[in-house]
Symmetry: C7
Subunit: 92 residues, 7 copies
């Protein structure tokens, strides 16, 4: 897992996207439309939260998030997403 | 009921949809339009809630939810829905 | 009045709609447009309320609610409406 | 003033509309457009209020309210309006 | 200044509009467009305020308010405006 | 700096706009488009604030505010702007 | 880093934009579209915060912010951006 000096602000989370699986465990090819489904990624860094939001995720968690969540950020040539914790559906 | 490592975040609920009944108890075929009605599913996992939302449902509850509620998620080849507790109408 | 195992969530109320009166007490036929007026129904079950909403209605109350309030739900072949308490105008 | 068993919910008020005056005190005919102005009515029953709204009006008050405020309700062949207290401009 | 039995509700203020000045103090004719500028009026009566709004203006204050603020009300053949305190820009 | 009897209400601020600089300090002519940039003005009077807003600016401060902020007001033939403190970007 | 007498108001931050990198560390030319990505800048001055927002960034921090965040401000011929802390994604 990449480590980084990037410190997300407020209730934001820095996520390193995992490549969308091409096939299911049993080998079935996942059609593109399926890739519309929630994406997966690893939490790299977490903000301090806000008055209204207590942070639940922590670095190392693998999370599910909506397809169009977050803002793309490239730092030291690594592509990340910065999103609000509210965009994260679950920890898997 | 499926068990899973998926931990919904905040006030979200992981639901495994139940197949829409094709016939009523007394055998009447339910037309498609009726399937627009609230859907049913079993609660698999529940988030910790948020500052504003205390969780009422628990794993094992059978619930009614709006037709277009939640986001489809497939984990270990099982299809689930992740929705906010606010989308759930009732426990039956 | 029907009893049921349905437990509405949060500030929702389960209502069994009463048939719209066809005639007034003194026999005047109520035109369809009048049926646009608030509908009547009997409260069957009540949620626990939320942080912001204390429940005022109780099972057995006959209530007035806006024409398009609530979601239709059929359980054990009985048609109900699940609505928020905020959609209920008054107890009569 | 009509009395009634209708109990408005939350911050709602049951109002019996007063006929819009046709003429001013000094006999001038009030044009229809003037009838666009706030309407008058008598408060018949008042809800208990809500977490955010303390009730100010009471049965018997004559009030001014916006032209399109409230929902028409007919009970026992008497026409009323059920409106939120927030729609009432003033007590006169 | 007119006195009146009208009691505005909540954070509303009863204002008697002052005629828009036709000329400046030094005699310059004010064009109509200038009359788009804030209007002036005298506060006649003030509501009790709300949970969120403490009343600042009092009867007798001359106030500036936005051109399209408030609702016209005629009582005892006197034209007033009922507006929210939030529509008042300043006391002059 | 003009003094005035105008007392802004709530979180409003009375500002006397400064003429947009035609040239930079080093003499470069500022194009009109640049005048789209935040405007400058002197604070003349300040409201008491509201439940949610504590006032930060004080009479005499020179402030930067968005181009289209506030409402034009002419009192005693002096042109002012009345704006919310939230429209003020900074004190310079 | 420029120092300045500009004091941002509330939860605003004064940022001096850094030139968008033309090439990556390893020399690859960054296409314009990439410049749509979050921008970088140095924090010059910070407001006092508001009732709801506690300030996290401080002068000297290098920050990432959304492409279209903030308002351009030129003071003493230096171009800055004034933005809300909420527009800042992270400190890097």
């Amino acid at each position: 897992m990449a480590t980084t000096k990037i410190k997300p602000l407020g209730d934001r989370v820095l996520v390193e996207p995992l490549a969308a699986e091409e096939r299911t465990a049993s080998g079935i090819i996942i059609p593109d439309t399926a890739k519309e489904k929630p994406q997966r990624g690893t939490v790299i860094a977490v903000g301090a939260g806000t008055k209204d939001v207590t942070m639940e995720v922590k670095p190392g968690d693998v999370v599910l998030y909506g397809k169009y969540s977050g803002t793309e950020v490239t730092v030291d040539e690594v592509d990340y997403l910065i999103m609000k914790q509210g965009d994260i559906l679950a920890v898997i």
